[in-house]
Amino acid sequence: MSGVLVVAETRRRELRDISFELITAGLGLVQQGAERLIVAVVTEDAPEAARSLSVRGVQEIVTIAAPVEHPQSAVSEQALEALIADLEPDIILLGQTVDGLGFGGSVAARQQLGFAADVVAVELDSGVPVARCSAYGDRFTACVEFPEHDCVLAMIRPGSHEPATDAHEVPIRELIVDFDPARVANTEHVAFRDPEVGDVDITRSDFLLSIGRGVRERDQLERLARLAANLGATLTVSRPLVDAGWAPASLQVGQSGKVVKPKVYLALGISGAMQHLAGMANAETIIAVNTDPQAPIFTVADYGAVVDLFEVVAALEARVDG
């Protein structure tokens, strides 16, 4: 056992929360017998990032200087390949994030690593790594093994682990990587564009009436907006309605939209994909109405009802109008 490698994630020079969640997952493996936990970070501002990553239980922080500002997946790939050669880890933990999706699969395929994605837990079973993965929209859980692989790369779902916070001095080492300039130049950052600000700031409302795919018909949106207004709620949506062009992205709740924490979140016709739950699970009170009793939204709801949303809408309209 030579140990666990966590690859931290940065954006615009800032460490992302997933980095500290991965450290928690790594520390769990050390508790179960993994030899050591090493955290690596590829960034333009390595010393600052390394200091922030210094958490109790981490043996070493390895920094790699990014060859360009805002590095793309080609940089992450080469950095991870260099780290594998240098450290020979048994287990590598990356985030199942947009950046993680950019290079986890390619390195795993090229290096013939054991591989599991959307992992919610990784453990050692008699010293051998096993992973628990979500499948079929969180309706099933898979136990995954990695026979005949000496090194396993697990892509950890954001939010599945609490972030590690216990700051502690950790030795820092720089690893010099000889990046292939042609490969680096093939994908080039041009610009960032911040999300457009809508007329309504949905993060400031105490009461969100949120609608999803269950609405089925675009014509119903006006009616639901009217109901929201009459109830004193702000109307929000899940991703499919934005994808369909029915609602602006500024009203979207979820991982690629806004994270909201209202006092009441009334979800009508939202099944509750992981990406949506990531944006609303911390609401104080969640009421979910869905025709599918297995819908994952019920796993985070305080109150649930298995009934057609439009029947509930009609009953609420009667109350409001009456």
């Binding site: 699969g105 099933f140 080039e188």
Partner: protein
């Protein structure tokens, strides 16, 4: 694109997947390692409807070229390919071997490699993920194995003669604009277009289009090579423990509405 001999036309390979539609009828297979595919319907993966549409739009905007859709799957997967052809893809390739057994995203990517090498496209468009396992890894693995530059989670594609500029969607709705050198691979996110609907007539006509079925042997793929690269093996699949703490409201819609009104009154003082 980058290759002068193809200027003005673009050749795009679109790997797709036929996925199970999970409903109450779903059953597990005998080994308890997957679902019994005979117990459910299947459909073209939602993300792949967007990648196919994106490919068709790029082909048509370039004034020519070809969209080849490819899948790894048994006979059920032909239905998904037929959907792609009915949408407007030019031809389809299905790779399968009954002996293939359990594989994963990396194994699938390995099988796709010789198809990509044979077709030598300017662009490969994959969906970000499939709705069943949501690994989001097949595209990146295929790019890695074929040595192509790649960008994940793309929401906009602009292609002129030699320059491919894309937008990728980061967490929180942040957009990053990236320039990438073709021949490249992109994984596309839902919402980047409105996939066209293939009606019955289009599906019927699509049956006239070329659909090729290849075995691993015909692609000179050693099954051991696929097994060696497959990164994982599912030992058990089980229904997720719901962990639901929700108080389920029993009764008709009026009972539900009354309860919602009561909760609103208690939590935020709404009076109706």
């Amino acid at each position: 694109m980058a290759r002068p001999e193809r200027r003005g036309s673009v050749k795009i390979v679109v790997p797709v997947k036929q996925v199970a539609v999970i409903d109450d009828e779903v059953e597990l297979n005998e080994a308890g390692t997957g679902i019994d595919l005979d117990s459910v319907d299947s459909t073209l993966n939602e993300w792949d409807t967007f990648s196919v549409e994106a490919a068709l739009q790029l082909r048509d905007a370039s004034g020519g070229g070809e969209v080849i859709t490819v899948t790894v799957g048994d006979a059920r997967a032909s239905e998904g390919l037929l959907t792609c052809l009915a949408m407007g893809a030019d031809r389809a390739v299905r790779v399968w071997d009954d002996d293939l057994g359990q594989t994963d995203a990396l194994g699938t990517a390995r099988i796709l490699v010789p198809v990509v090498e044979r077709e030598d496209p300017d662009l490969i468009l994959c969906g970000v993920q499939s709705s069943d396992w949501r690994s989001g890894a097949t595209g990146a693995a295929l790019a890695g194995l074929t040595g192509r530059p790649h960008v994940a989670v793309v929401t906009k594609i602009e292609l002129d003669d030699t320059v491919l500029t894309v937008e990728r969607e980061l967490e929180g709705g942040l957009i990053e604009v990236v320039r990438i050198a073709p021949p490249a691979l992109l994984t596309v996110q839902t919402g980047l277009n409105q996939p066209r609907y293939a009606n019955f007539r289009a599906r019927k006509l699509a049956r006239q289009k070329p659909m090729e079925t290849l075995s691993l042997g015909q692609l000179s793929i050693d099954q051991m090579a696929v097994q060696a690269i497959a990164g994982s093996r599912v030992s058990t699949l089980a229904p997720a423990e719901s962990g639901s703490q929700a108080e389920m409201i029993v009764g008709d819609a009026h009972v539900v509405a009354e309860r919602i009104v009561a909760v609103l009154k208690e939590k935020i003082g709404t009076t109706l």
